[in-house]
């Protein structure tokens, strides 16, 4: 078919960052292809990238600014679109600026909670956090990475001083040994999983899967350790114990690149494989075998997802993995490393560009005085050196009245937060909720003002994928109706707030292009300094750190040193703090994703993808189903202490006995009404993977 035009851009879905070509006819995306010679996907796509970008043209796209009809009329009740009226940009922007400046004058900057967006561009997010920090003087800036990889970040920061994935996707097909743990890679990072399977099938790589669920990729594994949910630390500690007992470690690496080995190695005493078998349910011989395969490899990598991080022990889980990599020296060479697979197209970039409460762009601490002075001089204003609140802490603060205003860029907390009934209660207490989005989502029901924004196909900018590769997106269409490009509308809002606050000098919100925004950020962030939009145009993508224009970028990290100097062995204890199944709530509920949907479902539910997977399915083990008298296809009620949902059962041995799995994508089966807001003490990530539930027939 002859298309009117073909636009090369970056896929808006998961963190793989596939390069796609949108085939456009009559101003519509008809299909998508992929260039054969472009990293990271080299022509490969999954169903979402190839067929699922049609949400761009969905009839329910927001096209005009919306203002709540009964604004300020007491308690905030959720309302649908009918509760809003269309407004002009001037009216909506002025109203938002009035309300924001009123709050600021009355209560100060820390009355705001602001949410960056892991789906928006680096440039959108830079402007947004700059608005929060320079105009509103608050570091209450966070985003949904808090709910996904914050524990990986916290654990890797402690162990190595850097939290990004240490290997590039291009290295995957040449792997020798690798562990996939807590990641349903085939469904959540489909194109990466093709390279991992290629390593096994074509390269003879050995794959060890460590996961309570029997996910598709276990078909390619030499070993599947199916441990009880929540016992990850015990399992990795037992592997470390074997590696030390059998002297399989890399003593040169330990001597030159790590610290705390002596104390750490003595701390493993109780973690014998035999004892850990009783904790995890994994046969001790399998634990030993896994340890030997991993340790004896010349190079070995670990890939993980939410199963490791979305846990009340998420930081410990991550450090237990980092420990075995440090023991064996499986870091700093091609095909080795520690790789948290990022979930959203730009979740890496959203963190990189300052969408975090403790960091300016480039992970520069807000509490560091020299850094503060650097940003103050660029932004021409005084800044707040107090680290802000995390996503869920902002929700708590809304509940307790400390925060009165939420400003949300493209996120949907009322789908993605745990214990939604409590989260909604917190939202209802807010005095002012401003949202920027492309669709009217579940959180928008609580908004006062909603600004219509641009999809990935309607703006220029950059996304940073899971392996730190900064890549361009291209504008293929104009925004629908009167929707505006995110960074343009944010800087318009910022200017109006600045003028109401009588700021003598603007912090700088008069950018004329996304590439200008990148340039300002790169000036402030040393590892970005060698990257510019024009360079990306020529090279297709650059892996940061890239400190100068002659630097080639960094596909794998830690070749000579770790950002914290030496890698740190962390002493860990076995903590089993998750909600445990009981007589009344005998099942463990695990939540996650499926191939055809993405996160809160805002995009995929408005795509052709919804036709192949239109409703949530609760996966239950065949033996458990038979014992408890449940049938495949039966609709049941699943309840926890916090709420209950209705869902269809799917009997499958993907779920182990005692565990049911429900995906997080469906507003009709809001699984987060069941989940438990029990948080990791360091990362503040909730325990999404473990909630005690009961199943009852309807």
């Amino acid at each position: 078919m002859k298309f009117d035009r073909i636009v090369k851009t970056t896929c808006p879905y998961c963190g793989v960052g596939c390069q796609i070509e949108l085939n456009i006819k009559d101003d519509k995306i008809i299909s998508a292809g992929a260039p054969e010679n472009a990293a990271p996907n080299f022509g490969r796509l999954c169903a979402k990238g190839r067929f699922g970008t049609d949400f761009t043209h969905h009839h329910s796209r927001l096209k005009m600014p919306l203002i709540r009809k009964n604004i300020d009329s007491g308690l905030r009740e959720p309302v649908g679109l009918e509760g809003f009226r269309e407004a002009s940009w001037d009216e909506a922007l002025d109203l938002a600026a009035d309300r924001i400046s009123e709050t600021y004058k009355k209560s100060g900057g820390d009355a705001f909670g602001t949410f960056c967006c892991a789906k928006a561009t680096n440039e959108d997010n830079y402007i947004f956090q700059k608005f929060a920090r320079s105009t509103l003087k608050t570091n209450n800036v966070d985003h949904c990475a808090r709910l996904c990889h914050s524990a990986s970040v916290a654990g890797l920061q402690k162990a190595l001083g850097s939290s990004a994935m240490s290997n590039s996707i291009a290295e995957m097909k040449d792997l020798e040994v690798f562990i996939v743990t807590g990641s349903n890679t085939t469904e959540t990072h489909p194109v990466i999983s093709t390279f991992l399977r290629e390593a096994v099938v074509k390269n003879g790589a050995k794959l060890i899967v460590i996961d309570p669920r029997k996910t598709e990729i276990t078909n390619f594994a030499v070993l599947h350790l199916q441990h009880r949910p929540g016992t990850d630390v015990a399992l990795f500690q037992a592997m470390a114990n074997i590696i030390i007992e059998e002297k399989l470690y890399n003593i040169d690496f330990i001597d030159s690149r790590t610290e705390n080995f002596e104390i750490y190695s003595k701390s493993l005493g109780e973690f014998t494989p035999e004892w850990v078998e009783t904790i995890t349910g994994v046969p001790s011989n399998d634990i030993k075998e896994a340890a030997r395969i991993y340790a004896n490899a010349n190079s070995a990598a670990v890939y993980w997802g939410m199963g490791i991080s979305q846990s009340v022990h998420g930081t410990d889980n991550t450090m237990s993995i980092a420990n075995i990599a440090l023991l064996c020296g499986h870091l700093g060479k091609p095909g080795t490393g520690l790789n948290p697979l990022r979930g959203q197209n730009n979740v890496q970039g959203c963190s990189d560009t300052g969408g975090l409460p403790a960091y300016y762009p480039g992970y520069q601490s807000v509490a560091d005085n020299d850094i503060k002075i650097k940003f103050e001089s660029k932004w021409k204003t005084s800044l707040n050196d107090k680290p802000g609140l995390t996503t869920l802490e902002m929700s708590d603060a809304a509940g307790s009245g400390l925060i009165t205003d939420f400003i949300i860029l493209g996120e949907n907390p009322l789908m993605s937060e745990p214990d939604l009934n409590a989260a909604r209660h917190h939202f209802s207490k807010l005095k002012n909720v401003i949202m920027i989005d492309i669709f009217f989502n579940e959180s928008a029901e609580y908004a006062d003002i909603i600004f219509p924004a641009a999809s990935f196909a309607e703006k220029a900018g950059t996304f940073t994928n899971s392996d730190r590769r900064v890549q361009l997106i291209q504008q293929a269409f104009d925004t629908p109706g009167e929707a505006q490009v995110d960074w343009e509308l944010i800087q318009e809002l910022a200017l109006r707030v600045e003028s109401r606050l009588d700021r003598k000098e603007s912090s700088g919100f008069e950018f004329s292009s996304a590439s200008e925004i990148w340039e300002e950020m790169a000036e402030l962030v040393p590892p970005f300094q060698g990257i510019s939009h024009s360079r990306l145009e020529k090279e297709g993508g650059v892996h940061w750190p890239c400190p100068d224009v002659n630097h080639p970028g960094t596909p794998y990290l830690f070749a000579d040193t770790f950002p914290r100097g030496k890698g740190l062995f962390n002493i860990l204890e076995l903590r089993l703090e998750s909600e445990q199944p009981s007589k009344e709530y005998p099942y463990i509920l695990s939540t996650g994703r499926v191939l055809y949907h993405w996160h809160g479902g805002t995009m995929t539910r408005r795509s052709v993808l919804d036709k192949i997977y239109p409703k949530a399915l609760a996966e239950i083990n065949p033996e458990a189903a038979e014992k408890d008298g449940f049938k495949n296809g039966e609709t049941v009620t699943v309840s926890s202490l916090r709420g209950s949902v209705s869902v269809e059962l799917k009997v499958t041995d993907r779920s182990p006995k005692g565990v049911i799995f429900i995906s997080m994508h469906f507003s009709e089966t809001l699984v987060n009404e069941l989940t438990n807001d029990l948080r990791d003490p360091v990362a503040k990530i909730p325990d999404f993977k473990i909630s005690a539930v009961k199943i009852t027939s309807q």
Binding site: I30, C46, A47, R50, F51, V608, I612
Partner: protein
């Protein structure tokens, strides 16, 4: 390195390369149909055949390794006749209306698309069993790119396979199941490599159908 003679031009090339590699390096065009640069060459269509001195039959250049002193003719009369006949046989059995690359070759080799029109055309109903793409096997020339992509060349999903023999040979799923009941994950990587439009996104198919009405 070995030395080969391509249409009498001397060419040095690494061992283990194919005749097609040598021709590409030397800037000599050899037409292909089933060959795809990212996939294992199946050597099925025989459109890339060349005449090698001393060989009894024409050899498929995509899978024949070079040997030292090899003398190769890439466009001898015998080669051209073979290519023309292959195109004429494909035209007789298959709907090539959505195969722009083949149309170019038919033109170039002066193939008579109607030469084998009296033979039985391979006709199958269009399969529309999923929301993403259609399978119109009347347009399929059995190059098997889709099977390779789906199995051990790219996707490792193993949803597609070949079935039947000879005239009834066709691409299918195991037990001829509908795609949603197979291990297919609708990556569409098969659609991307199909050279004849037998696999086509449903959007494109429907737009064409509307245009045809």
């Amino acid at each position: 390195m070995v030395t080969v003679y391509l249409n009498d031009i001397k060419k040095e090339i690494e061992e283990n390369k194919t005749i097609l590699d040598a021709a590409l390096e030397a800037g000599i065009h050899i037409p292909t149909i089933c060959f795809h640069e990212k996939l294992t060459p199946p050597g099925l269509c025989r459109q890339c055949v060349v005449e090698v001195e001393g060989a009894r039959v024409l050899l498929p250049s995509c899978i024949t390794k070079v040997t030292d002193g090899m003398k190769i003719k890439t466009d001898s009369e015998r080669v051209i006749r073979a290519r023309r006949t292959i195109l004429e046989m494909l035209s007789g059995s298959t709907d090539l209306s959505e195969s722009p690359e083949l149309a170019v070759q038919i033109e170039k080799y002066g193939a008579d698309s109607n030469r084998f029109k009296d033979t039985a055309e391979r006709k199958y109903p269009v399969i529309d069993d999923n929301p993403f793409y259609m399978r119109d096997y009347s347009k399929c020339i059995l190059c098997e790119r889709c099977v390779q992509v789906c199995s051990s060349d790219v996707q490792f999903s193993y949803a597609l396979t070949t079935t039947g023999r000879g005239y009834t040979n066709k691409i299918s799923t195991f037990y001829d199941k509908k795609l949603p009941e197979t291990s297919c994950v609708f990556c569409g990587n098969c659609v991307a490599v199909c050279p004849t439009g037998a696999l086509i996104s449903s959007n494109e198919y429907n737009i064409k159908a509307e245009g045809a009405e």
